[in-house]
Symmetry: C2
DNA sequence: GGTCACTGTGGTAACGATGCCACATTCGAT
DNA sequence: ATCGAATGTGGCATCGTTACCACAGTGACC
């Protein structure tokens, strides 16, 4: 799959030749005819420098192509312009958008971002935290897996913003989605359409995100006076395939289900596939809703009714909190901000089918024979 | 949309209290009863240390929770364990997967990744390069927008790997997708089905990626003896909306088109929407193929026939090249590796409709009235 | 026994920037 | 005229680590 084809080596030699020593602030000072101290002040803006000298220094910097060495600067000043971002899976558009929102705002504030994936594993997360300490990030944004990494960072005095979910017992800043609200609203949407037997497909309820969605689902049912049926809360692993199988098993077991709520985008993917493989029509046979809005949800037919978490804003808010915390404009108290999600109604939800007609596997369609 | 809800400040005070000075290698040396020099050698593995002393140092490091300061280390050793990754848009799954592939491999090789988005703008790209120089990355991986950033990095001696596309005239390492091959194969697939009037929707042909896809398309037509019709190469901007409008205009102008080739995932998105809004059936009325395989392409019906670029592998290969280059195991010559794409046949392609029945906007369906 | 290679350790000087202090000059107020 | 404050500049030490050199001990070999 990988082939080597060509290699022209002309430009590299030229590059090597032009590899002069990188100019330091000493060189700059010499070029501008002043001392390194003054050059430093002229560039950083701390302390007195006359306008005339500052101009001369800037001109000289341009002239000799001086770029301050931020490593030396960090060592001396014991700060860095780096912020660590520790997330579970950059391939998941949720995390990608989060990272993008963070990066945009931090970049415009003059910080750069070090991204570490942890694949949802606590050990990898701790390893990432260690990296952050080694490079002395000035803050970290974490979607926590366990409490270890966050604790480690905080105990070394690194400001932490927890994103999307919260580890209990730590008082770092945090930006969360109001999962209860979002889940309640979308469940109520189903209830309002007349659904009474609504299944929740969910992978975990240990984190605040999953717990909140479960709570919102329950609250909506309670508000409608629908008794909670524990068998309708379907546990699954955080993978489309697992979700697909879980949905399949659920519908075999409970053909009376008329609506399905997938608690995140990956589970929604699996649920969608499961329904199609069974030959079920959405929303005629079964309504489907999701949590987290992704492009594919408006591409498929029917479009999926879902909860938009405003992931970009989640990211930007995390970044803002970091900037504020570093600047010290945030007080010592931990701040928790909530992003209010909004529901997006598309075509995957409708009034339930006649209760007398439970869903069944369509005879004409067998799993595996469907081309997707 | 953002609300403040609570803030418990208990843990922070405790954190502040435990904020002891971070242990340095001096502390470590004292704890292990040896000199800093020896401690340094024990940790880094350069130079002689007896097994007994090394064990003592490692134990002491564990004991006092010593983490080497990589800033100081970088300053002194004039190297860093950071690699810069400069890409266009992390929100686009293509770049997200690329970044993920890069990050995985580099992390396992002990490097961390600094990600900078440039939004496809040359100025932002140069700014990113400046950041990389300031933090003295030991290499950079770039999906180049202009030649300026790559030039800047190379002239400062930073090894650069160009990913996905190549800026002319520079001889850095590069990992490219064989776009000609992929485009030719998928176009031939259409030709083999009997298509003769195949439109190519493409946003740019200045970069090697776009140029390659155009060349592959042309080569396939030439091989089949189909004359090239320039009006069938439809230029558009790099956005789904623009692509949608371009497809709409094309089909108004050229109702004889029987197949459409969208040159990347964003254009495919727009094309798919355009066809649906016009009420056209795929593949019965029109066949559609894409370049770059994304999850939604197997979620929609019909599934989209496309070219899988093996983006993860593209990323991993870039990272491997970087590791080799830093280790010096790559010779001075620039290496260009090609990833061979493979085509994925789904349901969006079929034999063309009868030539006597050109496509027309379905009367019953008006753009805008369709719920998606 | 002397030379040499090898092993193992410690001392010292950087890497490049900046914080702090000392010092010089100017100017307004007493 | 004298003092103090404000303005401006340079010198020096230092951030935490490692490269380099010096040097001590051990054993092998002629």
């Amino acid at each position: 799959m990988v082939g080597k084809r060509e290699g022209g080596g002309e430009g590299r030699a030229e590059t090597r030749a032009s590899l002069r020593r990188r100019p330091t602030i000493q060189d700059l000072a010499r070029a501008a005819g002043i001392s390194p101290s003054t050059a430093s002040r002229a560039l950083s803006g701390n302390g007195y420098v006359s306008a005339e000298v500052r101009a001369r220094v800037l001109a000289a910097a341009e002239e000799i192509r001086y770029v301050p060495d931020s490593i030396a600067r960090s060592l001396r000043s014991r700060t860095s312009r780096a912020v660590g971002v520790l997330i579970s899976d950059i391939r998941n558009p949720f995390y990608a958008n989060l990272a993008a929102g963070i990066e945009e705002r931090l970049r415009s504030a003059g910080y750069h971002v070090i991204v570490v994936n942890n694949d949802g594993e606590a050990d990898a997360e701790v390893e990432g935290a260690r990296t952050f300490l080694a490079v002395r990030v000035s803050a970290a944004i974490v979607t926590p897996v366990s409490d270890r990494a966050v604790r480690m960072l905080m105990s070394d005095g690194v400001p932490v913003v927890q994103a999307d979910r919260l580890v209990d017992g730590l008082s770092s800043d945090a930006v969360l989605v109001d999962n209860v609200q979002g889940a309640q609203e979308i469940t109520s949407h189903l209830v309002d359409l007349g659904h009474r037997t609504i299944a929740l497909l969910i992978d975990e309820t240990d984190w605040t995100s999953g717990a909140g969605r479960l709570a919102g689902y329950r609250a909506a049912l309670r508000a409608a006076g629908i008794p909670m049926d524990p068998a309708l809360v379907v546990p699954t692993r955080f993978q489309p395939d697992a979700a697909r199988e879980a949905v399949d098993a659920l519908l075999d077991r409970r053909p009376d289900v008329t609506a399905l709520f997938a608690a995140n985008n990956l589970l929604a993917e699996g649920a969608f596939q499961a329904l199609r493989l069974r030959g079920l029509r959405v929303p005629e046979d079964l309504s489907l809703v999701a949590f987290d809005d992704l492009p594919w949800m408006s591409m498929v037919s029917p479009g999926i009714t879902t909860v938009d978490q405003h992931t970009d804003e989640l990211g930007r808010t995390c970044a803002q909190l970091v900037v504020d915390r570093i600047a010290g404009s945030e007080s010592g108290e931990a701040t928790v901000r909530y992003i209010e999600p909004s529901i997006v109604i598309r075509s995957s939800t409708a009034t339930p089918r006649e209760p007398s007609v439970p869903v069944a596997r369509a005879a004409s369609t067998q799993a595996g024979s469907v081309t997707i």
